[in-house]
Amino acid sequence: MKKLALLTIFILILGTMSTSMINPVHAQNDPSILLRIAVQADKQILNQLDKKYGTQIPNNIQILYDKGHASVKSLDESLPDNVKQAKKDFLSSMDSFMQISRIMSQSSSDKLIVVTVYKKSNTDLTSEIDRLENYVKTIETISKKSNIDVKNDFVKIHNLIQELRNQINDQNVINNDLVGQIKIILDSIKNQISESSSKHQSNFIKQFFGKLLDKIEKQLTNAPDDNIDQIQIDRGYELILEIRDLLSKNQINSAKIVYSELKELMKNIGY
């Protein structure tokens, strides 16, 4: 029986350790991924160089490309046996290609554009509508869960989205008034959801506060032993009573506000 117990423990240890070893192994999962990414980058860079410079590639870029291409070759040769070398080759090749692409971009007339600015240039309005639609779908799912009657609002929103899509297709412009209308309706729905969920969750929050206030009450009971000012302790008890009173009247939001004050007080007295 002892032998069996020892064997079981051994297997347990082996099993536990082997699963914890999965992470580093997984981190090197299929090293051929590195080769595929590097080869694709190599081809893409070559394509860009060909388009931009033809046969007149500047010397500094040519040197970088040769270095990157040599690393890709070395990466190919390193796999599958020498994963450590393959990783080095991958990073080296990607670094070279990154430098080339950045040199090429800097030499173009375009300046660095942050996406927020780019977004306003109306060049990809479809993405903006797609995101808005995804957001609408998320809110729609939550609203169904919250059992609030906003079906008509969503019908209206979907119609507005369709109108936006049609405008983009026809004129390639986005009507900000329509987007504004959608956002107003969504805000109204979100408010209704918040109200509904806060009602639904009031019992949950009451239980949560109950546990928390019991814990704080115990801390306040022991507070005189820690030489805490009695005025502060009394104020703490007052706030607890106030929160319990508000919770009994279902005034959750007010209870939250008073709780913030209690939390600040407990922080000030070192709890």
């Binding site: 297997i11 536990t16 375009d110 780019y118 939550i142 919250s146 949560f208």
Partner: protein, 336 residues
């Protein structure tokens, strides 16, 4: 004066010359096996928290749209005794922020610069989704994604994008809807990409080698087989073993027919029904990651769907090799 307390083994252990002899046949057990057992237990106990921290469901998924805006969805384990949680949003140009707590209810959230103050009030897991414009910049035709993440994350690149540079090693790569999805480790990451209609920008196809499977077999399957073998040996010794075929038959019969499941749960959502059908057709169990791949859903959406099915009592969620294994429950009819 005669001592009232006499060592029990004194008579046996004292020889003629009064030399103390000690029985040594239990020494091995006492001095070697017991410390070995204790040490083993300590190692197991020490490794278990590591295991559970690995399996804690903290996910971060990013999707880059063609215009460079990034959709972020994340799931975070939080202390249910906290009233609020401060979340770093990676930037301050945030749109369409939605924070959902346990039971899929909206949580009150205030965004202050690049932080969100979320009133969690007892939630143990929160799901957050938002769009952010700060993570991607563009110069000429070159797009650059840049993120300093505290955890590993997945990144879905736009269609027809081709990576031309990156600063660190990817953990994994998959194809989802003809788009490349990279799994990247925590820390500073920069990825440069171009858009191109050229064929070379097509997604990079996965071809797993046999070596990887072999490695997984050694690391995962062998210990499991050993453990199962031990259990089987133990059961054989106790003469309580049932033939394997019989056990399998019992397990298959215990899973209800799909129509019966839907009859028991008539209010099930259509998309949930599809999930149940897929699990049923897969022999009653499937990995959550396989569900994501099959239904092309982000982690958070699939996680919520799975939790919904769990609440309905249709499935159980178990951990298997750091992944969620979804199993159809066998005794639904009895409970309903």
């Amino acid at each position: 004066m005669i001592s009232l307390i006499e060592p029990l083994q004194m008579k046996d252990s004292l020889g003629d010359d009064g030399i103390l002899f000690v029985r040594n046949d239990g020494i091995f057990d006492t001095m070697v096996k017991t410390p070995l057992l204790v040490a083993s237990m300590i190692i197991v106990a020490a490794l278990l928290p590591i295991q559970s921290s690995f399996s804690s469901p903290r996910d971060l998924d990013l999707i880059i749209y063609p215009d460079g805006t990034t959709h972020v969805s994340t799931e975070i384990d939080i202390d249910p005794l906290l009233t609020d949680y401060e979340l770093n949003l990676f930037g301050n140009t945030i749109d369409n922020l939605v924070v959902i707590g346990d039971d899929e209810f909206l949580l009150d959230t205030v965004v202050i610069d690049d932080f969100a103050l979320i009133q969690t009030f007892g939630s143990s897991i929160i799901s957050i989704e938002y769009d952010i414009h700060d993570l991607v910049s563009k110069q000429g035709r070159l797009w650059t994604f840049s993120l300093d993440s505290s955890s590993d994350f997945t990144l879905l690149l736009p269609k027809n994008s081709a990576i031309v540079g990156m600063t660190n090693l990817p953990i994994n790569m998959e194809i989802i809807n003809e788009q490349n999805q990279l799994t990247l480790s925590s820390g500073q990451t920069e990825i440069d990409y171009f858009f191109s209609s050229n064929s070379i920008s097509n997604p990079i196809r996965n071809t797993n080698t046999e070596n990887d499977y072999f490695r997984y077999v050694i690391i995962i399957v062998v210990p499991i087989i050993l453990l199962i073998s031990t259990v089987i040996i133990l059961r054989t010794k106790q003469k309580n073993q049932k033939p394997i075929d019989q056990v399998n038959t019992i397990q298959k019969n215990e899973i209800l027919e799909i129509e019966t499941i839907f009859k028991i749960k008539p209010d099930l959502r259509e998309d949930d029904k599809e999930l149940v059908k897929f699990i049923f057709n897969n022999g009653g169990e499937v990995l959550e990651s396989d569900l994501r791949k099959k239904f092309l859903q982000p982690r958070t959406t699939m996680w919520r769907a799975v939790k919904r099915l769990e609440r309905e009592g249709l499935i159980t969620i178990e951990k298997k090799d750091l992944q969620n294994l979804i199993k159809l429950r066998k005794n639904m009819e009895n409970e309903s």
